[in-house]
């Protein structure tokens, strides 16, 4: 025995999973929609993406340096926050909008509460809420895809009557592939779903939250909308529902950890989204519904602990 042996508590082996692998998978899942957003919105999309990601990564590194903590930007989590934030901003926004949003997301929502895993809200969504409240004009200046990039309304605003009454609904096909007005990532439902399937396949997320969330919205929209199937379809595939349900509501730190809790969480998101869309002042309700349920997550966890094996009733 020439060398010293490592002595530690069992187990002595670990799975090959890691934070950076998971986060990288999320980036991979988001990339088709990311490429599509650049295809549809051109330079505007590149600008928003660049400043959001840059802002997130620089803020994370800067704060960790000031707080003399190990710098963890290589775990890709700041990149994910940056991309998700960019997906929530219209391509027409000036460069400082995504930049300020990213700083807020990382500095205030994530790092002040203890960094990765300690944020009680989804950082990208909280930042979006801040941006919408502070710069509502820049944040809702929707442009149509393509080189002309004229101002347009989102399908949901048209449906909800908030838009110019002369605006016409885009075709359902355009909504599905993303050829419609909206923020970067709100548009291409198909590519977002493709990424979601990848995440479920890689076991990064369980399909529980997305399916129940979207299902609840579908059911309630059908009910409230008087069983109008096209209206329901627009509600599901346009706007941020797909993005929110697959990539935001499934955020680990701000959603419940128990299977039962996740079901309640997703149901709550679905109900609040529908209520805001039909009865609220906003055409879009995804971000506030998720933020609201984020806050409820700890208490949901507390009351939905799984049944312990051999529990005596």
């Amino acid at each position: 025995m020439e060398n010293k042996l490592i002595v530690s508590s069992s187990p002595h082996i670990r799975s090959s999973e890691s934070i950076d692998k998971i986060m990288r998978d999320v980036v991979i899942a988001l990339s088709p929609a990311l490429v599509a957003s650049i295809y549809y919105f051109g330079f505007g999309a590149i600008k928003v993406l660049l400043f959001a990601v840059l802002g997130a990564v620089l803020t994370e590194a800067g704060i960790q340096k000031i707080m003399k903590k190990p710098i963890t930007i290589s775990d890709w989590s700041a990149v994910v926050t940056g991309i998700l934030l960019a997906f929530n901003i219209p391509a027409s926004a000036p460069w400082w909008i995504p930049f300020i949003g990213a700083i807020f997301a990382i500095a205030i929502v994530k790092q002040i509460f203890g960094g990765l895993g300690h944020n009680f809200m989804n950082p990208a969504l909280a930042a979006r809420a801040l941006l919408v409240a502070s710069w509502p004009v820049q944040m809702t200046n929707w442009i149509s895809p393509g080189p002309d990039a004229v101002s347009t309304a989102t399908p949901l605003a048209i449906l909800g009557g908030e838009a110019d009454p002369t605006a016409v609904l885009p075709s359902l096909m355009d909504v599905l592939i993303g050829n419609t007005g909206g923020s970067l990532g709100e548009t291409s439902a198909i590519l977002l779903i493709l990424g979601g399937i990848y995440l479920v396949y890689k076991k990064v997320i369980s399909p529980r939250i997305p399916l129940i969330y979207i299902g609840t919205v579908a059911f309630l929209t059908l009910l409230i909308g008087g069983f109008d199937v096209p209206v329901m379809t627009y509600h599901i595939f346009s706007g941020g529902l797909i993005l929110g349900a697959i990539y935001m509501a499934t955020d680990y730190s701000s959603s419940p950890v128990t299977p039962k809790g996740q079901i309640i969480f997703a149901l709550g998101c679905g109900i609040i989204t529908t209520v805001i869309r039909f009865y609220g002042g906003y055409p879009e309700g995804v971000s506030y519904s998720i933020l609201f349920m984020n806050i409820a997550s700890p208490i949901i966890d507390k009351y939905t602990s799984p049944r312990v094996f051999g529990e005596v009733k």
Partner: protein
């Protein structure tokens, strides 16, 4: 064929290919054996011999009056050289050091026992106790105690644990393949001792050869059946095994007898079989010497008291720079800091990991991914127990059922943030238990 199993669990890399196909070999005759007087849960034995005494193979050299205990026997013939406190794989214990004369003279007390059908329950239990048989999966609970439930507890099922879900280990697998008759006879003895009609042998489906051999071996035996189990860790954990085989749930904080079941290990059953057929007490056992840090991995039949060092030498020595020496498997085994320790009744394997395999990644923040909740075979929330325990919030930790943890280690294995979940839960459990004992004393 439908495979039986439980809810939750993980799929660690098997690592069994090192030794699964290797027949059991006899370990080299040790020159010196160091036999601890405590190799089991319960009271330590008192030495029955003195320095300078001559002893023979199978001679009882340590025993006690205490009920929860098991005697120990010499595994060689020779002379007692020393009786002193020594390092053992589980800590420290008084050990009897015997220098072998190489003759292996067998003690007169080692005589085949009469057919089990002719013996009473008490006689059977006495044979098992006198043979020093304990659980051989790791915890080493004295078998005769396990087979003596209080009179008000009815037992209707015996399960032999042939799951061997621990990665790397193949000792039970090889034993079932090479000596199924002993295992079956041991099961028969246990069933007779408990007056039970149903005896199951649960085997994970990754050992189809063992399933086949055991099915053949139980032909003609009344009430016995082989139950193929899904390959999943911790399939061989007592409560999970009972659930898989009988769909009965052992109540929280209770023992298997609460659901009329007794579980025994394959190795223990074979040792019982041996004690009846030849009269030889438990003085040797089969262990897998395996892992990336061993030159020639083997399954060896080892005499209790042989040092790890001798065993490793017989397996070609260490393979390069080694990082970890473990008694048992990688999920629940005990890491050792030296190889100058004796094999004991509970040594199911010696696993040596290379420095690269042994290095554990640095823990990072918990991201609340919930994977530990999803896989916990007991339905606990390891992340919360760990967090409460680490912050000394023992009431909270107890509230989230810390004491139900079976310490299988699945949560630590699966955690993407590489957090030492089980380690912190263990600390919390022991703190809670200490506090409980203190409160009781008041």
């Amino acid at each position: 064929m439908e495979l039986q199993t439980f809810k939750g669990g993980i799929h660690p890399p098997h690592g069994k290919s090192f030794t699964a196909m290797k027949p059991i070999e006899k370990s080299n005759e040790p020159k010196i054996v160091t036999i601890p007087l405590q190799q089991h849960i319960g009271a330590p034995c008192q030495p029955l011999v003195q320095v300078g005494d001559k002893v023979k193979v199978g001679q009882k050299i340590g025993d006690t009056e205490a009920f929860v205990s098991a005697p120990v026997h010499s595994s060689v013939s020779g002379e007692v050289k020393e009786i002193a406190q020594k390092l053992t794989p589980t800590g420290q214990a008084v050990c009897i050091v015997i220098e072998s004369d190489g003759k292996n003279d067998v003690d007169e007390s080692v005589q085949p026992k009469p057919d089990v059908e002719k013996l009473s329950k008490e006689e059977i239990l006495k044979v098992i106790r006198e043979a020093g048989i304990t659980g051989m999966g790791g915890a080493s609970f004295p078998t005769h105690v396990k087979l003596s439930p209080p009179p008000d507890k009815e037992i209707d099922t015996v399960i032999l644990n042939g799951a061997e879900c621990e990665p790397y280990l193949t000792a039970d697998h090889r034993l079932m393949l090479e000596n199924p008759e002993r295992v079956v006879y041991g099961l028969k003895v246990i069933m007779k001792a408990l007056n039970v009609k149903a005896g199951y042998i649960g085997i994970e489906a990754n050992k189809p050869d063992a399933i086949q051999v055991m099915e053949k071996a139980i032909k003609g035996e009344e009430g016995m059946s082989v139950i193929p189990l899904k390959v999943k860790y911790p399939q061989g954990a007592e409560k999970q095994l009972i659930y898989a085989c009988t769909k009965r749930e052992v109540p929280s904080g209770k023992l298997p007898m609460e659901v009329k079941v007794v579980v025994s290990n394959i190795g223990s059953a074979a040792a019982i079989g041996e004690a009846f057929k030849t009269g030889m007490p438990l003085i040797e056992r089969i262990a897998s010497i395996t892992g990336s840090g061993i030159k020639e991995p083997k399954n060896l039949k080892i005499k209790v008291g042989t040092s790890f060092k001798d065993i490793v030498e017989q397996c070609g020595g260490y393979n390069g720079k080694i990082g970890k020496l473990i008694m048992g498997g990688p999920m629940m085994g005990l890491a050792q800091f030296t190889d100058e320790i004796p094999c004991i009744k509970g040594t199911s394997g010696i696993l040596v990991l290379s420095e690269e395999d042994a290095r554990l990644p640095k823990p990072q923040n918990c991201m609340r991914c919930g994977k530990c909740v999803e896989i916990c075979p007991i339905g606990l929330m390891p992340l919360y127990i760990s967090a409460y325990g680490s912050n000394n919030m023992l009431d909270k930790a107890e509230e989230v059922n810390a004491l139900d943890c079976i310490e299988c280690g699945s949560c630590s294995f699966v955690c993407p943030s590489k957090r030492p979940l089980l380690e912190t839960i263990r600390v919390a459990k022991s703190e809670i238990n200490t506090r409980k004992r203190k409160q009781q004393q008041k």
